[in-house]
């Protein structure tokens, strides 16, 4: 008996130590409630197993297709894998083109490119804002896309090996140096030896560098000068960039009103090339007003649309939100809509009506 008691005591002690020392689950896990068993590739191939109604909608959609005897094609299965990767990594990569990557490649076609590795945190796109301890999108994909396409076109004219193009590339490197908010780097003015086209490019690069460096007054002045230069290939977009700089610089009520007025005036000019981008910019300016009631209304509007669209099986709201919000936020906009309302310490009595001609006119 004594040996048995000793064994039992030792077992209990060991068990207690085991509980104290090892991580453990409160219950055995035989099935998952929200997703099929791993590896999910088997489910994706049609091995549905025992379906659970509690699976996330994205898994039920797959099952629905197979149960309808309409299996996913190879392309569709790849889309699902991409979606799972996006969910797993939190990276919304619905844009197929890596423009910063393309820029990094093409700049090396011009001799003597300084080796560069993107900052792992900012990715050469985000800058840190000390007053609010957060990061914001500074250099968006379109900046890199414009640089890539312009370098290609200029190389076709002047050659990748030319001194002129090297000067162009070096100046552009300085522009992008400002993307993660480091010490400002502004390209020097173009020398007279450069062809007129590249001198016009340089003026634009200088304005852009000021913009990304947060030197807003200098950027506005530079873009306004370009807007009056009929010989510059950037003259058409310079008015929009003036407004964009004003919007970015707006920190108080007066400057925000100024930015909004500038955007509306530009829309009134009815330049078709600028209309769509200015409309989106105007929405951002209005959102940046930090009108708390407007945010609340936006979140309610978004939730109403989300519920109706989920019921109808479409999700165009996600795409429309991407146009309104900075890229990183849009990546989880659907998930965060539910929480947006909780960000605002306002009561329903404080809710303000949305401005006429803005949210009400939003086609989404």
């Amino acid at each position: 008996m004594k040996p048995l008691v000793a064994v039992l005591a030792a077992s209990i002690l060991t068990l207690a130590l085991a509980i104290a020392c090892s991580p453990s689950f409160p219950k055995a896990v035989f099935t998952f409630a929200r997703h099929p068993d791993f590896p999910r590739t088997r489910y994706l191939a049609g091995e549905l197993g025992i379906l659970q109604p509690t699976y996330a909608r994205s898994y039920l959609v797959i099952a629905y297709r197979y149960l309808q005897d309409h299996p996913l094609s190879a392309d569709e299965r790849q889309q699902v894998r991409e979606y799972w990767k996006d969910r797993q990594t939190g990276q919304w990569d619905n844009t197929a083109t890596d423009w910063p990557g393309k820029w990094e490649k093409i700049r090396h076609k011009v001799p003597s490119a300084v080796p560069h590795a993107p900052n792992p945190v900012t990715g050469d796109r985000y800058a840190y804002a000390p007053p609010t301890n957060d990061f914001f999108l500074n250099c968006a994909d379109d900046a890199y896309q414009t640089a890539v396409l312009t370098l290609r076109e200029r190389a076709a004219r002047f050659g990748y090996q030319s001194a002129a193009l090297r000067s162009w590339r070096d100046a552009q490197d300085m522009v992008f140096h400002n993307c993660d908010g480091k010490t400002p780097a502004i390209p020097p003015p173009a020398g007279q030896a450069l062809p007129p086209l590249l001198r016009s490019d340089r003026a634009y690069q200088i304005a852009a560098a000021h913009f990304y460096a947060g030197q807003h007054n200098e950027a506005v002045a530079a873009f306004r000068a370009i807007a009056t230069d009929a010989s510059s290939p950037w003259q058409w977009i310079a008015p929009y960039l003036v407004v964009r700089t004003l919007a970015r610089a707006a920190v108080d009520g007066r400057s925000k009103d100024l930015a909004e007025k500038a955007a509306r005036d530009l829309l009134a000019s009815r330049d078709p090339r600028l209309h769509a981008m200015t409309t989106v910019l105007l929405r951002r300016v209005i959102l940046k007003q930090r009108d708390e009631g407007y945010f609340h209304e936006l979140s309610q509007h978004g939730l109403r649309q989300l519920r109706s669209r989920l019921a109808g099986g479409t999700l165009g709201l996600h795409q429309s939100l991407r146009r309104l919000y900075p890229l990183p936020f849009a990546g989880s906009a659907v998930r965060r809509l539910e929480r947006l309302d909780s960000y605002l310490p306002v009561s329903r009595q404080q809710l303000l009506r949305p401005r006429a001609g803005t949210l009400a006119a939003d086609p989404q």
Partner: protein, 238 residues
């Protein structure tokens, strides 16, 4: 030998600027903590490293946090491990360490904390990352890590040789060990591992678990830091 590393680690403590006795965790919410008194600081999520698909994806913070000048700021880097255990690569280790170091440099915070619920199979990876981070940032950087309470259950564990100034056991959402841990903490007791005895992390709903003698307490809010919640915590934790 473990005692040597523990002593070396403790010596590092004397060279780094220590945070105040009360730290408020600020997660993915816009927050205004300009009314914080000097005895409290903020430990805010500054970036997240997600280990997936053989890579390390980094997401910086996008929610504004306002604090008054002079508030002690601790940048927290959260590591999200792979959904399914896999062998983590050298490339992931390098990128994770680089992301943590760059976060510290970009944010220019007063201290740094790494938050990773590492599985048993991931501890070697985590230890290596922390070693790389320490090497890059030097001994003057105050480096804290969070810990699952299960890591603190014995006097000698893998925690003892980590090159960090502080280990913060998270006494909330503790899983199956919750009852025993709560009983221990409510009575004013400490976890057996000496590295888990100086600091404690609790939620706003579990302030009573931080009643013991601690150098530092970290508080996690369920929801946003409202003025009411802030006052309640400051009145409770003196």
């Amino acid at each position: 030998m473990p005692a040597f590393y523990l002593l070396a680690s403790l010596l590092l403590l004397s060279d780094a600027t220590a945070p105040p006795p009360l730290m408020l965790w600020v997660w993915e919410r816009p927050s205004d903590l300009r009314s914080l008194p000097a005895r409290a600081g903020v430990a805010f999520l500054a970036s997240t490293v997600t280990l997936a698909a053989g890579k390390a994806f980094v997401t910086p913070r996008f929610q504004p946090l306002q604090v008054k000048p002079g508030t002690f700021r601790m940048a927290v880097v959260r590591i999200e491990g792979p959904v399914v255990p896999v062998v983590l690569t050298h490339a992931q280790r390098d990128r994770t360490a680089a992301a943590i170091v760059q976060t510290a440099r970009l944010v220019n915070a007063d201290a740094l904390q790494v938050d990773f619920d590492a599985r048993l199979s991931e501890r070697a990876f985590y230890s290596a990352v922390l070693k790389d981070v320490r090497q890059a940032l030097g001994p003057r950087q105050f480096l804290s890590i969070t810990a699952l309470v299960s890591w603190c259950g014995a006097p000698q564990t893998w925690l003892n040789i980590l090159p960090v100034n502080e280990v913060v056991p998270m006494a909330f959402e503790m899983g199956s060990g919750a009852a025993a841990a709560e009983t221990l903490l409510r009575s004013g007791g400490h976890f057996p591992n000496p590295r888990c005895q100086a600091a404690i992390g609790v939620s706003t709903e579990g302030l009573a678990l931080a009643k013991g003698a601690y150098t530092r307490r970290y508080i996690f809010p369920y929801g946003e830091w409202t003025e009411t919640l802030l006052r309640s915590v400051l009145n409770t934790i003196q």
